[in-house]
Symmetry: D3
């Protein structure tokens, strides 16, 4: 009885089957990048950050007040604690992380690319603790039971066979429990092949509620020849996914769009001073889930596009969006100087 | 006799009643801001600067060789010395500052806002030493007597009742001494209300030689419905102020303008790489006063607009404009690479 | 049933009446300090950290795997999030923090003091959100019920009347529930008077299980004339506190000591390269509680002294002690180079 | 015999008369610049770099795998070693540098100039070790014999009489040996006069294979009144130089062009986020020589323009272009995000 | 009359013949040093400071509330403004500085030397603006008339013939006006010879009130064979200087001492965490003058030794001593932690 | 003939069989460490350096003017170029490095350990490019032929089987060529076992001219029970190595010693302000080889101990010792302040 009361004060006054708004799983990397537009071999200092597609999504949602659990493997020791601490700082529940002795942490080196330089990520993530994530790492059935939404990314199955199996099992499990699963295709040529990425998608598609992908990847990985609305329609048709969010090239018209149950949602383009190219897609996903958790697909895509723009204008992978930004979004007072 | 000679070498060969080109009064804050476009809660370092509307004006004028006195209250100790030292570094005479034991220094936290983020200032200035500035803090009659121009800002009366009384008394005193008074409306919603800001302006207007304000504030605070030239004319008419400088929205045509004794002065727009949004208005004011001290209202507005553009392209509140910039302004060789 | 299982996976397989190992309450400040031994008015950058006596204790215990809840008030917005994020990063549960709109965050400016300079803290904490903490801010009865230990500090009652009342009520409540209360005298001349500090101690003493204080404060605040063992004995006798931990001057012999149920525990002195003088006392307290939670008063004082030494050799208020340090402590392999 | 083999492994399997792809000579300065768009008198830190027109060219070519020798004078001691170390880091052979006791190193202070500020270089290079470079400093005949190309700049003859004599003798010597000489006019008003710069060009022109100059300098220094193609043709005609590369104002159409043996080569303009204005011209020269060493004048100008654009987007004088950039150039995959 | 009043408010209520407490003259350098114990050729950033023996003395005295004028030559432009701004920041009156177009600023590169490395200064000050300081640069007669004390250093006469003549003329002029002159021998082997340094001292000695020198220099430059008290007595006797302050090797007993009118004053040694080795001697001089201006030779040497110790524990040449330190000195509460 | 001359100018006037003074081989890591005594999980920036035992030795020798070749494998790309550039900057010939596509660079994370913290290195070097170094990577026979000395370390054989085979073959090859081989035992518990380290030493010992090891490792790895002189004698006897250098615990008496052909050489202890604990042993080795190349074993050990002390007082692995230090060593003017 005392316990029941307790849960109610702590903001946990929801039914036990929905302790988390979001459950996600995947690898998070230590991100090292030179300051001030330097090239990697020019730097004498690296700025330290952390990033991983799923955790990026989770952190933004936690910042918006959602209860998020992230499952992963981290090496025991101070490097793993950098990642864990950053996740917790944003409010993500990391209690399900498994700490592995003598393991290594995946790394990414990010070199910014003011035009006409190329922004570049060098991954050093092979043999990492997280690359051996598997179904044995967490009590998935209960976690799924306790969660309102499960988010997965195409990066995880590309990390290794146990990761691949985990993602597919988890999607199936979640769908079987009647919970929505979102999947970001997130094709990375350095991690997997076109064929494998497509095979994974085809295996997972039947379980998906929301598929997010770039038009470019839809064409190269999945072999579609359409673009824009036609492409979204074709994807939804081929894979039977109720919601398809499509990010499009910078100058495409319309831009990012959402096909939700056969209806299109469009978003305005934001003028953006690009500060950091990494993580914008994850902000889009987080914004989509944030809206969809409230059952509002129009808000979902509009807020997702806003969050992605803020993410591009913010250093690092993780979007430090806060309640003030949400208030400005709703009040339509974005930009300018506030004092 | 020796003393007289002394004053003449030291660049003080002016009549005793004009020891200062400018007298100003107001609060100056310690400004803390994250480097490299970070958000406030993302930072691990704050860059330290100082800023306050009136001191910003004073520092720029002192850098141009004007003799400037700034009166304020500062907390005794190292934090107060940061402000005092910065003022003196630019050549501002701080001997009239009152040092208060056990007082606090006002602070501002500035978060830069690359688009579509919002540039934001969080003030933490309540209960500061300067918020209790009052008429007892300096020998105002003699100081006014010794000064060629007095500049005031609408921020000061918003700090508290003694500040408000001081500003009104000082304006009256200066006008009575036949000296010009300038006033920057500087409306800050977090410090005062529309009604109060308007009431202060109405009380001070009869004493003003120059009123500087943003078109936006003229409309919201003073209730005007006009814009551009019509607005300037209406302001000058309603308040009987000889000179009205109006800063206008980024894309308005014409831009910043000066109505001087019923004649309009326009300025070119500068292409600006915005580095820091704070202090540009103060640079405009300083440029205006610089020209008007020489009796040249055309130079005043042109130089003011140039200084404001340089200020936007410079980190910090205070405009590090120097004689080289003035030379480039006059030689019309702004921009490019000089070596 | 599912819920019960859930709590057991998450490392919460304890009885409901002991959800937290430690409950603590108090103000946490943003700490700003110049890098590289600079003086405050010499700096151009401030390093950002956070610190507050009780949260420092809580963070160290959370890093050691203890479940810690910290209750406080924070201003809504990014500055409050800096504090909250740091607490969460170390694993402290901040869900009971109250977020106050338009409030200010307490600040401290720390100037390091290599000899013969003086290390100095300038507090700017008056009127802070936390200075109005009160009994209405949390469901104390249930929280105490859910906690194994409550830690309080003499700083909190010095912040204002509602804080003082809260501390006394909370101590009484905890003692009544049969739970141990620890209290760090933590005398701060800039916050309170000798008489007030003594009055608070006298009011709270009957409820205490552990009293931690500096010999210097025992003499100046409480008026004792003894030193060392005699002083500890006299304190325990006068106030009837079962455990008294006394920190002593750098060159005293013996050093820090614990009088536990009439038995003395001594500790070795560590050679320390002092990096940061703030927070060492809080590390001592955290170490004491860590040992006492396991019922081992010998471990308590030895680990406390070790943690204090590590704290002095670590930048910032918060002790980044980790499991590796604990392993070295137990293996007696402190210091040197490990690779 | 062993020796011969040895030279072949080391990537030196070229005929002895061509040990270096490029021989160059000139002064290199320590470059000090404020971070983050600060003005010079606003800074509290200077970023350290090195730069000198000829060494900038040499470093970029060495990064592309060319064997480069750079001859200069440096002061013995750590400041000279900063320059030497940077040159060697990029692969430039510095064994021919003469180390001078008690000499000074030339300096440049660079202030960035976001619009409408002026980017500015303040030289402090008078009386430097390198300003007394002369023909006695190296075994020029053998070095020329061992090199495939010699590059000179108009800066060197402006440093002093011995430098001027050296440049002219070296050009003559190289031409007499049948090797190509390139010359970048590089007019610096603070180092020389229009008349002197023109006189030097006229003396050196008969020996040149490639002349690189800005349209602006062709007009002011050499007195031409033409522009674009006509100007290039006129220069080639007046001075009898087989190849003329002309850099043109930012908005000119066409942009940078190369007149090679009466044929024009044009380049596309790149969209550039300007990070640092210094050294772009040197990158153009390096790119030209890189292509011309392979006998490909079309590649030369296209790669030169690409390298110049990359240089503008990179901090510092020296272009950290690497093989990855070359690959992207050839694959036409410049810009974007690669991961 | 108004003017008279005016001077009295501004803290200038002294007789006109004593407008300055201290007049000093000399070169000030831009000081560049690597952070964090790096070697010069290891650094990628230089920390910027300014330093010059006489200005160091002047800044410390100005920080203590003394009115200080410093005369020098500075190059027009931002580099000169760094020096001027730093002097003004501490309260030194720089109105008598002459600004020279196209001149260079003297530089010093400081490499810290944790044991057993050698702390090292590389001067690059030849041909600087200040090296041509001369009697024509200021109205010396009136300045001396307006000053209570004149301080000179042996560095200035070593900079060039006009500097040497200036120092001698100024000492004679001051002595003739009945004002005290202090002289710090400050021998620098890289600037002058033993013989020249000795010749200058012999020429200036008849005019001196206070001579400050290191025991080591007294022996090597002036040829004394005594040490400690005997040495001070011998110096005073040979040169007829009323006050001789002698700094002695780190482990000598007694340490720094003052022979004042045949009476010895001793000081305690301070335990010092050495942060920066430059400027401690200047702090000693400033402390001496501070005490002697009040006619207290005992305070003079005790405060001088304290200031020197604080200087060693502070980064940079200039001693950021403030009123808080003075209060701690008088209250005998040096060191420790204050909060 | 021209070629012969050429080699003679370039400082290569030695016989072809001795083109390098030192040939060495091994892995070099990117070293990432937090600034300012922070703990690893406290940092937001990592300082970038490079280090590897053999390259550390090579860099110091190259700085002393020795011709050094270092052979390794590096990943193609900017991370590999950081290592390569640092090596070249110090003058090490890196032309024999093999660049491997898609490989990873070994990393080390260094956490400083002011007492009583533990200085700690976390290696992340498994699967690195260099861990697969093998005999096929360079023309060893000719390289040995061209070198005067070969240096190896016990770290390399611990990296993998091909590395182990390489080290043994190279030692045998060198000894067969009559050239001296030095070997630093360098036991690393995280890379290998006691048994393996001992087995490798036993296999390589017959080929060694100089064996360097720590007393602690001699006891734990090789099973000796002696200490000091007796230990050195026992090692030399058991393994038949002509020269044995033994580094001893900080407080042992005597300290580091060299047993050279049955004669002992001792060194003074230096007082050291420890700045960085890594690389001191490599400096000892480099100093030894430097002296032994000149046939002076007394100089060897004295210079080695000096270099090790300088290394401890210098940030980073690589010792930035320069000719000025060597001059001070010979002039016996170490420490103090030089200006």
């Amino acid at each position: 009885m005392i316990l029941t009361d307790f849960l109610q004060w702590g903001g946990m006054n929801t039914a036990p089957e929905a302790r988390y708004d979001l459950l996600t799983v995947g690898e998070t990397l230590l991100r090292l990048s030179p300051p001030g537009q330097q090239r990697l071999d020019q730097a004498r200092l690296f700025e330290i950050a952390v990033g991983g597609s799923e955790l990026n999504v989770g952190c933004m949602l936690a910042r918006l007040g959602r209860r998020v659990a992230w499952v992963s493997r981290l090496p025991a020791g101070p490097l793993g604690r950098i990642v864990d601490g950053e996740a917790r700082r944003h409010g993500v529940d990391t209690r399900w992380v498994r700490w592995i002795e003598s393991a290594r942490l995946g790394l990414m080196f990010y070199e910014p690319g003011p035009e006409p330089r190329t922004s570049r990520v060098i991954y050093d993530r092979k043999y990492s603790a997280a690359s051996e994530l598997g179904f044995e790492d967490a009590p998935w059935e209960v976690l799924v039971q306790a969660s309102a939404w499960v988010h997965l990314s195409g990066i995880t199955p590309a990390l290794g066979p146990s990761c691949r199996a985990l993602v597919l099992q988890l999607a199936a499990l979640t769908a079987a429990a009647g919970k929505p699963v979102s999947y970001d295709l997130n094709y990375r040529a350095t991690l997997t092949s076109l064929a494998e990425a497509r095979a994974v998608l085809e295996a997972i598609a039947p379980h998906l509620h929301l598929l997010v992908l770039a038009e470019r990847d839809a064409q190269s990985v999945l072999g579609f020849t359409e673009a824009g609305e036609n492409l979204a329609t074709a994807i939804a048709a081929r894979y039977g996914v109720p919601l398809v969010a499509l990010s499009r090239p910078p100058d495409a018209e319309p831009g990012t769009l959402l096909l939700a149950h056969s209806e299109f949602r469009y978003v305005p383009r934001y003028a953006v001073d690009v500060v950091d190219r990494i993580g914008a897609g994850d902000s889009l996903v987080a914004g989509l889930i944030h809206g969809l958790l409230d059952g509002n697909s129009d808000l979902a895509i509009r807020f997702g596009a806003f969050a992605a723009a803020i993410g591009l204008a913010t250093p690092g992978d993780i979007n430090y969006l806060g309640p003030e930004d949400v208030a400005r979004f709703h009040a339509n007072t974005i930009g300018g100087l506030e004092r």
